[in-house]
Amino acid sequence: MATAEHTTATSHPKHRRFGGIWSWVFTVDHKRIGILYLVTAIFFFLVGGLEALLVRSQLAFPGGTVVGPDTFNELFTMHATTMVFLSLMPMSVSFFNIVVPLQIGARDVAFPRLNAFSYWVYLFGALLLNSSYLFGGAPNAGWFGYANLTELPFNNATHGIDFWVLGLQVLGVSSMAGAFNFLVTIVNCRAPGMTFMRMPLFTWMTLVTSFLLVFAFPVLTVGLIELMFDRFFGTNFFNPAAGADPILWQHLFWLFGHPEVYILILPAMGIVSDVLPTFSRKPLFGYPVVAYSGVAIGFMAWGVWVHHMFTAGLGPVADAVFSLTTMLIAVPTGIKIFNWIGTIWGGTLNMKTPLYFALGFIAMFTIGGLSGVMLASPPADWLEADTYFVVAHLHYVLFGGTIYGLFAGIYYWFPKVTGRMLDETFGLIHFWLMTIGFNLTFAPMHVLGMDGMPRRIYTYPTGMGWDLWNLVATIGAFTIGASILVFVYNAMSSVRFGKRAGADPWDGRTLEWMIPSPPPDYNFVQIPYVHGREPLWLEKHPETGLGHGHPVPVPIAGGAPELGEYANGGPTADDLGIHLPDPSYYPFIAALGLALTFAGLLIGKAPPPSWMSVVGLLCLFYGVYGWIFEPVTGY
């Protein structure tokens, strides 16, 4: 081995290198791309949160005058679109990026440049969508954009819907490119010995989520294309005067939209499934069942979409069938919850912030699930739909579920990414302030919904019995805001001044805790051979006879600095004869070209394409061809 190393090192081709900020712009390293995703997603979480606070300010009192009705419509539309597409999904993708290659014992994802491309397309799509605020007005027809409210005769005061249609298509390209990448990575880049049933649950859920992304986004894309063609080229997809049926939009959107909510929740469930065993010091209870339940949810996700349309008048047969399928999908979900409880049961709990958020997830998501079962019954849904009851449900599952899960992931993996611990005291303050605020905000909405308060109204009269709970909800919303400020402060100060974490601050069980924090760019000095589930645990416990004698770091609960071979920087990839992909500017250029092509449609409908679209297309072709024919240094 040593002979080959020296041969490789001396005959090594020159590396492409960029300095400073350009090393971030042209990076193809999954860990850096993951950090880019995480920082951007947290930024947009703040943007979406601000939009929510404006909504809640307007609704704090009856007859509110904080914003007018048109602005209110833009705010709730952008709040949801931002949270779903610009924050929650990218935050999940940031963990796919940082964690999955480490968990499967790989050096990077299967297509590092495609990975970079996905990020830049996300950023440009996010900017395109938000630029609507500056150019006449943001989209205003809800995050689900029902036709034909979104059609030109009813929505042409501003170009908001055009920005929405184009922005979401761009974002769709990003999501799909990422999903393709993670599918090939998980299928094809696992370390030797890592069968599917030995993968960590987070990687399993990434696999299922990626399949959902690959199959759901094309349906949304077609719906958006049809709406775009109606608005730009005068087609009749949703034009009743030509005999079209606007219900088609609802079907296309929710065929995407329901798998989408599983795309939103499964990664968080994966995080919880990894956090609970580590902090209970027990293996995940019922690992195969939890994995298969995730797969079952992935399949069943396709059979429930009409439950978003119970009030659309499809008839009793359709309603009954989809009511049944919707109730059925609660079964694998419930199975996961029981297995999580089984994991905690009898464990020696390490009560740290990640565990608090994971426990909070179980409690809050279960509450959301219960209101979901209530919505699954059409007679009940007919009273609950389009009221605040649904707002309560969706926030308990998406905030109490996804966001809690993502925060568990942030506190869990922050030490791995930065080499420092997030402050535990501030973490608990964040958790409790958020939990109090979250429940103050959304629990009353169950009551408001039952008392008949409709969704998407910009104000309400006094005397409906809604005043008190609206005020309570607004106070809760600002409490959430305060908790986020605590988190942001914690994150920013811990990056610089946090207690140093070693490789394994939590006494972890999976491969990512085997390597230094932060990891070297090549991840593993030597790709490990995997002998079973929780491979690091097996290495730490040679009495099982299943370890391979890999050196393992000593678990450091207090975060003491790690000594040893990495104390002075450690070997580089070249020292070890490891080929890593060089940074590249073509993904960035291609992403810019794609975004400009779409944005150009806003300044001039094709044909002929506007100058911006032409520039965009040229940029895209240059980027793609450059990418394909790039000289292979370092790959």
């Binding site: 599918l183 090939v184 299928v187 890592m194 077609v222 063609f229 997809f237 030509a242 005999g243 024919f629």
Partner: protein, 202 residues
């Protein structure tokens, strides 16, 4: 030990994968899976709006089935020439490979040309994107299919050009094979469209 390492180094450009399949091949299959949903949604839209146009022109008055059968045959034959191109690549005959790739591109272009002529005549008979549901769904569905064929033609020509520059080494068939997967998929989609849009009785 040294030989094993050397072999490992030679294989550095073709890393071992868990399934033994090349990454790019798996990627193309997954991409084609997503394209199934894409075209499936467009075809579903067409089927949902079938026979629901309030005004003409109607499909039964507009279609020239014999004409479209010929252009469908042309596209089908292009799949054959694609297979021949891959076979030539396997036999390490790059000149033949380029010939068959060019033929594939030519047949694809003939198909597109045929569609342009066909659609122009439809438009001249009063069918447009905005005329009725038939015009809307027909042109968008076949238009996106045609765009996919065009991208395929560009891919074929790029492969030929790259081969001329010496970019494709003898025995390297992966790129041709993956391009072939894409091309055959686009052809299969056309078979479905031709059947569902043109051949089913109105």
């Amino acid at each position: 030990m040294a030989e094993a390492s050397l072999a490992g180094h030679l294989e550095a450009h073709e890393p071992e994968t868990t399934t033994g399949l090349n990454h790019r091949k798996v990627l193309m299959w997954i991409f084609l899976g997503s394209e199934c949903l894409f075209f499936g949604s467009l075809i579903s839209t067409y089927l949902i709006y079938r026979n629901r146009s309030l005004v003409g022109p109607f499909p039964q008055d507009t279609f020239d089935i014999p004409y479209t059968s010929v252009s469908s045959f042309v596209l089908l034959m292009s799949s054959l020439t694609m297979v021949l191109a891959l076979a030539a690549a396997h036999r390490r005959n790059l000149a033949q490979m380029r010939l068959w790739l060019l033929t594939t591109a030519l047949l694809g272009t003939v198909f597109i040309g045929g569609q342009v002529y066909e659609f122009t005549s439809f438009v001249n008979h009063g069918l447009s994107l905005s005329k009725n549901l038939f015009g809307t769904t027909f042109f968008v569905l076949t238009g996106f299919h045609g765009a996919h064929v065009t991208v395929g033609v560009i891919i074929m020509l790029s492969l030929v050009f790259n081969s001329w520059r010496g970019g494709i080494k003898e025995g390297e068939t992966l790129g041709i094979e993956i391009a072939g997967l894409y091309w055959h998929f686009v052809d299969v989609v056309w078979i479905v469209i031709f059947t569902v849009v043109y051949l089913l009785p109105y």
